[in-house]
Symmetry: C2
Subunit: 336 residues, 2 copies
DNA sequence: CTGCGCTTTGTGACCGTTCACATTGCGTGC
DNA sequence: GCACGCAATGTGAACGGTCACAAAGCGCAG
């Protein structure tokens, strides 16, 4: 008869082969100090030889520590959140945590609730929220989450839960730059209304315009895509009652510039454009895009270190905001 | 004395409150048919009331099913792999699986081995490999992985493990397009040498050139970035001994076009350019980029359905290749 | 030689679930 | 009235680790 489906070796198999008790093996695995060097080596040899891997489920069961950090993200492949997520994964893995990521594709209440429920049912130890919709935070308040969590957006959930880039400041930098160049009629192409970043950038635009005593215009509400920027541009340029545009991200700026080219409008000769994010391609747009750089990696890294501190019981909250930076290229120039 | 740290409710708590045995609760959770409707409802009410969530670790321990699919990915925020990953997460979640993603940042042997080891130690049930380096597959061969796995690249690991877009065919489409436009001196800007896609696209370029009886040129080996495309362009254009360029991805094509603009070289008047991927921004480049479209979502979806079939014991392998599509825009035109 | 203390190792119980099997309840046919 | 079969529910063991505590080994002072 054949041996039915080989079972993976467990800690007792290792113990038997090494001639020690299972507890000794456990101590080796957990790097307990009180273990003789020769014993330890013998156990490690056996582990190597039979290819033993500790069963994480069993370990999680008894320690009630899943060593998992949940991530609630948005179903997009955008540069910013993606970069942050990669960095979060890296930082978490280095600290011995793994990630459980759930992407939500729509922003209705049920989808958000389902996504969060799903994460919480995996007994995650902490939670990172990248999904940037306002409504996500309503659900969070309602669920009264007990694990430490951090959002990559500025919210009104209480400052201790936020690790974000100062979007308002970034938008003010962008707007200020255009004002300094002499522009007074400045359009804003915004992101979707329920996105926190979009609202913050709009707010920064309004604040800076107001501070300069300039008239704010109603923003065009976009969807972040280059396509939208393009079609919005075609529409807006029929009137040409502005000389500068601040787009809420680089993709929409790209689309807008595409529309300008089609209509033979020169950038920055006729119209100046500023974007937001500084995606790696922005330097090679035509013309190279003046934009606001955010360090998506830094924010990811700091979010994890904030959570890890909280998991260690360290409550000196080093949360806070990261300052963005204006990158001046060629898409914005003096008012004609 | 205070109640020390409230323990999460378990299946026996539910059983006690519902006045049934823990096994009955287990049956309700697993939707066993032999359970009276009234009993089931009573149990569900208690679950709802006390906010009970099954402990996944305990479940995984006893069933030895982790319901986790591992993903070995590359530490990049590129559009393609990111889009595939999102789709993989979605499809897996719908099927009741979660993902454990590990990104490798360098492609040396140790990093790859460490990444795979890490995934395998989490008792994943299946594995998706997005990391596209040749060397990854050497490690895979060596480890003789026992779980079902699928790669998103075409490899020589045996066809049953691959779900990929036909890169060679795509590259031939791109090259053919340029040849059809009358070009004979066609440069290729390639991706990094150890990337499978890069090699396949190079191969497609060579095959098509050869088939047309044209001389192949040594490719420029790039790093996928727009920056590289730009600097490579500045260098190449000092000689101008070609009339068309096939870049191995859209970003490098973008950078190359940037270099052309700086040197007042007209596209497609003087030089034609074709890219690869069709990232959403490509339609808004200057000029809009002719490129090869790959459906990254479809490949993600099909990879998961292939794995799920294998997990069900269904070995009719529906693996295979997905055909890419040439998207003609304005960056390539007839030879001057 | 005994006893003490420190280092090193071993034993039993437990984490929260599912599995295999046992038991109960109850309608039905003889 | 009782055995029978099926539906519904209950019981003990097991999964593979860690924890708390017990015990053994050993050097050394008295």
């Amino acid at each position: 008869m054949e041996p039915d489906r080989v079972r993976a070796p467990n800690i007792r198999d290792v113990a038997r082969l090494a001639g020690v008790s299972y507890q000794t093996v456990s101590r080796v695995l957990n790097e307990s100090p009180s273990i003789k060097e020769t014993t330890k080596q013998r156990v490690l040899d056996v582990i190597e030889e039979i290819g033993y891997r500790p069963n994480q489920a069993a370990r999680a069961l008894v320690t009630s520590r899943s060593r998992t950090i949940g991530v609630l993200a948005q179903q997009t492949a955008d540069y910013g959140p993606t970069t942050s997520t990669k960095e979060i994964e890296r930082a978490a893995r280095e600290a011995g945590y793994r990630l459980s990521i759930t992407n939500i594709s729509s922003n209705d209440y049920v989808a958000i609730k389902t996504g969060l429920d799903y994460l919480l049912s995996q007994s995650i130890e902490a939670l990172v929220i990248i999904a940037p919709q306002v409504r996500v935070f309503e659900v969070i308040k309602e669920l009264s989450i007990t694990v430490p969590f951090v959002t990559l957006q500025t919210t009104d959930l209480g400052g201790t839960h936020s690790m974000s880039i100062d979007q308002v400041a970034g938008a003010r930098l962008a707007t200020r730059h255009l004002i300094d160049l002499g522009h007074t009629e400045i359009m804003h192409i915004s992101g979707p209304q329920d996105w926190i970043e979009a609202e913050a950038r709009l707010q920064g635009y309004v604040e800076e315009m107001t501070a300069a005593g300039l008239a704010t215009r109603a923003p065009i509400i976009g969807d972040w895509s280059a396509h939208f920027g393009y079609y919005a541009g075609l529409e807006l340029l029929r009137y040409r009652d502005f000389t500068a545009v601040f787009a809420s991200n680089d993709q929409m700026a790209l689309g807008f510039m595409h529309a300008c080219r089609e209509l033979d409008i020169s950038i920055p000769g006729d119209i100046s454009v500023v974007g937001f994010d500084d995606i790696p391609e922005a330097a090679h747009f035509f013309p190279p895009l003046t934009t606001v750089r955010q360090s998506f990696t830094e924010i990811g890294r700091r979010a994890i270190s904030l959570l890890l501190a909280e998991l260690r019981g360290d409550t000196r909250l080093e949360h806070g905001q990261i300052e963005p930076e204006l990158i001046v290229r060629e898409s914005a120039g003096p008012r004609a």
